[in-house]
Symmetry: C2
Subunit: 334 residues, 2 copies
């Protein structure tokens, strides 16, 4: 399988490292020997018909900050022109300007490439139309890595939705905010102090807005609702409230009532929302630190709850690998 990879940040590098480390196991167990025939980051591109040397690529990226040299690449053109089976997308999510990432997906679809993406914005903003386009062009569109990192939340959601009806989804699906809320609760800290600490430890970005203002959770809620509830929702359908206004006082009052405050993404008959909500201590959504939880309510089957690690480059890369193996199986007619 020939791959063109765009985005060599935390996730892209983890994927390259994983393909290196697991090369033998993947070949032995799955007959899977992928080649990266094209790689691009925001500053340059690299390409080789026979497959790039992954170690060399990682080392070049570490030394120079890019896998290639300028000029700044036209990624859709690069994706369309590269002779590959699959486009792997690991560029940063930007819901304020999703166009670039969507254009990359369209370029892949129109040049007959399967897509495996870890970038949330194309799905949060154009999931239904991209899926329709992929189906029309008979290419696969894998996006396991966009929700839950290595915890297969979307696979579970899809499975639950088959043969039963999902009436509600609730998720604690952003590790950064859950880490901050857990720290505020455990140490009585203010939001600002807990955020600063999370940034120092690498659990929060320098610009924390996507996490603490609920944008990341909103993207994931859209993807989950579309997957499990057969909706065609987009990011702007979500009522979003973040955690900046959560105070130690509120946390204390909730605790004395046997509750914890979690940033909850929810989809139900009232629509999609993201907001800090009080959940009973010990209930399925009461997960600590960077753990993620997803609760799916089924009309017939009751509540199904999944918890697991929801963040991390290698976990996200694992999810990309699962989708690549799915594509590989379908290419082999399995």
């Amino acid at each position: 399988m020939r791959i063109v990879l765009c985005g060599i940040g935390v996730v892209g590098k983890a994927l390259l490292q994983l393909l290196l480390d697991d090369r033998r196991w993947l070949a032995d167990h799955h007959g899977f020997a992928p080649r990266i025939v094209g790689a691009a980051d925001s500053r340059g591109v690299a390409a080789s018909k026979n497959g790039l040397d992954l170690l060399g690529l990682l080392s070049l990226k570490a030394r120079t900050g890019s896998v290639g040299t300028g000029p700044i690449p036209d990624l859709p053109q690069f994706i369309a022109d590269t002779d590959a089976d699959v486009f792997v997308q690991a560029v940063p999510t930007n819901v304020r300007n999703p166009t670039d990432a969507i254009d990359q997906c369209r370029a892949a679809i129109h040049s007959g490439k399967h897509i495996v993406t870890a970038t949330k914005s194309p799905l949060a903003c154009a999931m239904a139309s991209l899926k329709d386009a992929a189906a029309a062009h008979r290419v696969r569109f894998g996006y396991s890595a966009t929700v839950g990192a290595g915890t297969p939340m979307l696979a579970l959601a899809a499975r639950c939705a088959l043969g039963d009806r999902v009436t509600r989804i609730e998720g604690v699906v952003n590790g950064t905010t859950n880490y901050i809320l857990t720290a505020m609760e455990n140490k009585g800290e203010t939001f600002e102090a807990a955020l600063l600490q999370a940034q120092k430890l690498g659990f929060a970005e320098t610009d924390p807005s996507a996490d603490v203002d609920g944008l990341d959770t909103a993207c994931k809620t859209v993807i989950l609702a579309n997957e499990a509830m057969h909706r065609r929702a987009v990011f702007t359908d979500v009522r979003i409230d973040g955690i900046r206004h959560v105070t130690p006082d509120w946390i204390g009052q909730a605790a004395s009532a046997g509750r914890r405050i979690k940033l909850v993404g929810r989809a139900d008959e009232h629509g999609l929302s993201v907001a800090p909500r009080e959940v009973p201590i010990g209930s399925p959504l009461d997960v600590p630190g960077t753990t993620n939880a997803l609760c799916i309510s089924l009309e017939r089957g009751g509540d199904v709850t999944l918890t697991g690690r929801g963040a991390g480059g290698f976990d996200t890369a694992s999810a990309i690998l699962r989708d690549l193996l799915d594509v590989w199986r379908s290419m082999r007619g399995e």
Copy 2:
């Protein structure tokens, strides 16, 4: 899709009811309009090329205890002779004599029928060889309903195993024993008293051995281990200890150490086992009543935990329906 169904007990009846109730929804949403062209229980058979009337079938079963009249049918022959696409198996699990249920599966495979089963014994005793035979005959073999009832534990296990390595599985996968243990803990009852109460409420069978002696959990542990850890284990590989010897004293001592006793099925590098084990209160396996829990440890992805209802005719029938929809999609080339 033409179905031949064997076993019209709690699960078989629930499936017929579900196909009746959801007829319109299944047709509209999935283009799925199955016909039951053959049905058999231990006392008789019924068949119709155009599809049996489901309401009539259920009413006959309720009135007479059977869907047909004697003599006692030769089920493998009936399965082989019925012109159907799929064999649905919902006969009772009997691990002491799994031959009959295995023979039914073989008859289906050799007559080119897909299989969807809720019966654990063929999988617990011959999973690897039946899967090999099904693959060789290019028929699908669905067994979602054998573990977790409506909670898609096997789908999650398979997904987790793809692209990562499962190092350990632990499950609380038998609702009856968990109900009894929860009652013993909450009311300080003896095992015998709690069992009697569970039998009165319909949570335990008149012959409770399969549940309380750990046989049901052992079957499910075999199926989970084979699915997630690529093993070829069989029932006799499992070291099995049930809950008859759990005392109120032990439960009390565990509680004072912050632990609860659960019947845990486990597969790891030491092999497969079923035994009552102390688990920390609030840990993933600490689920109450008839709730099931499955904890999958991944080499790369950490622990993934799934909880949900693990019992009930309609829940199990939902899982059968999911597998039928999978078969239906593959028949349509999706």
